[in-house]
């Protein structure tokens, strides 16, 4: 390592400047994401397709998204104002998703009958 900063030095956003990399939280997030993905694969082959399985997949996906956004994108360490201005607009998408999937089912019923 060519560059060795003194122990007491800090960058503008509060990170301690050390000569050695601090990778522990990064590897922890990686372990969670890989573990969850492996579990999803296990479910895909051991569990019959159902609404329950799909719900589990979606919850696990949101967990993975949490690790990527919070740790990799560093959002967990930003100010509360920034965190909320990113997360609140995303919450509106849940409404969009529910509304349009209901719409899709209604169109399907109109075409194929109530058995759909």
């Amino acid at each position: 390592m060519a560059h060795h900063a003194p122990e007491h030095e800090y960058t503008a956003d509060g990170h301690a400047v050390h000569g050695k990399a601090n990778v522990k939280p990064i590897l922890k997030a990686l372990a969670w994401i890989v573990g969850i993905t492996a579990f999803e694969f296990l479910l895909a082959f051991t569990m019959e397709a159902s609404t329950l399985r799909n719900s589990i997949f979606i919850v696990l996906t949101i967990f993975k998204a949490f690790f990527i956004v919070a740790e990799f994108m560093h959002l967990r360490h930003e100010t509360k104002g920034l965190i909320w201005s990113i997360l609140v607009p995303m919450a509106l998408l849940i409404w969009l998703l529910v509304a349009l999937i209901t719409e899709g089912s209604a169109v399907g019923e109109a075409i194929f009958g109530a058995a759909h």
Partner: protein, 255 residues
């Protein structure tokens, strides 16, 4: 207007930096302009991808679902196909049924590239030029690998199988295009092309940005600037691409 001194004083006051709390001098989010705008761009991009995935959900619910067991599944245009029967090929293992293995590999490659990107950002915090270069190169390598895998996946999807699918009018269909495909309803292939294609375009843009970042790091541009914030901004974009893939993976390949 008649007094030149007044004019001079006025123009000088315009040039003075505004530092008052209600005068643009505050940074309530404690991030730079560039990083904040990258966050808001990514928010808008998330809306675009969410619109794509919501469309997928809507179109899928509009079609009939396959209700039998996975073992009895046969391709048909009357119902939506199940993903483990469509995506079951692996390069070099022709004709074998290996469901979802290749997409698992692609997912891992992209997640690992995200980790090497965090390490590049972290090295930038330490002003360690060699480490930034090293981790950027790894990220470029994994990103290019992912794009290569996607190219193979698309080629396989477009070419299709030897058996193909017999349509209602007796004609045979092999592979997929925007009008017809052997896997299921027309919109299944259309959404595959648009969603994975739009994601792949983002990966490609990310690779261009990473190439620029690598060249600039090598030239010492960021070191002279005194900070590696550009790596952080490109890092945010790159993680977002990974984030989108996590959702595409779930909605397209698992559910």
């Amino acid at each position: 207007m008649a007094n030149p001194t007044t004019t001079l004083t006025n123009s000088a006051s315009y040039e003075a930096p505004r530092s008052g709390t209600w005068d643009g001098g505050n940074e309530p989010f404690k991030v730079s302009y560039g990083k904040l705008m990258m966050w808001f761009f990514l928010l808008s991009d998330a809306f675009t991808f969410a619109a794509f995935l919501t469309t997928y959900g809507m179109v899928r619910h509009r079609h009939l679902a396959y209700t039998g067991t996975a073992a009895d599944f046969k391709f048909s245009t009357t119902y939506w196909p199940i993903p483990e029967k469509v995506f079951n090929a692996f390069p070099g293992l022709h004709g074998m049924d290996i469901p979802l293995a290749f997409v698992a590999l692609m997912t891992m490659i992209l997640i690992v590239s995200s980790v090497t990107m965090v390490l590049a950002v972290e090295a930038g915090h330490r002003m360690d030029k060699n480490d930034v270069q090293k981790w950027l190169l790894w990220t470029l390598l994994f990103g290019a690998m992912f794009l290569g895998c996607q190219a193979w996946e698309w080629t396989h999807f477009i070419t299709g199988s030897e058996h193909g699918l017999k349509m209602a009018d007796g004609s045979m269909v092999y592979g997929a295009n925007l009008q017809v495909n052997e896997y299921g309803p027309v919109l299944f292939a259309d959404l595959f092309f648009f969603i994975t294609g739009f994601h792949g375009t983002h990966v490609f843009s990310g690779l261009c940005l990473l190439t620029y970042a690598f060249i600039a790091t090598t030239n010492g541009t960021f070191h002279k600037r005194g900070h590696y914030e550009m790596i952080e901004k490109i890092g945010l974009y790159w993680h977002f691409v990974d984030l989108v893939w996590v959702f595409v993976f779930t909605f397209f390949y698992l559910i």
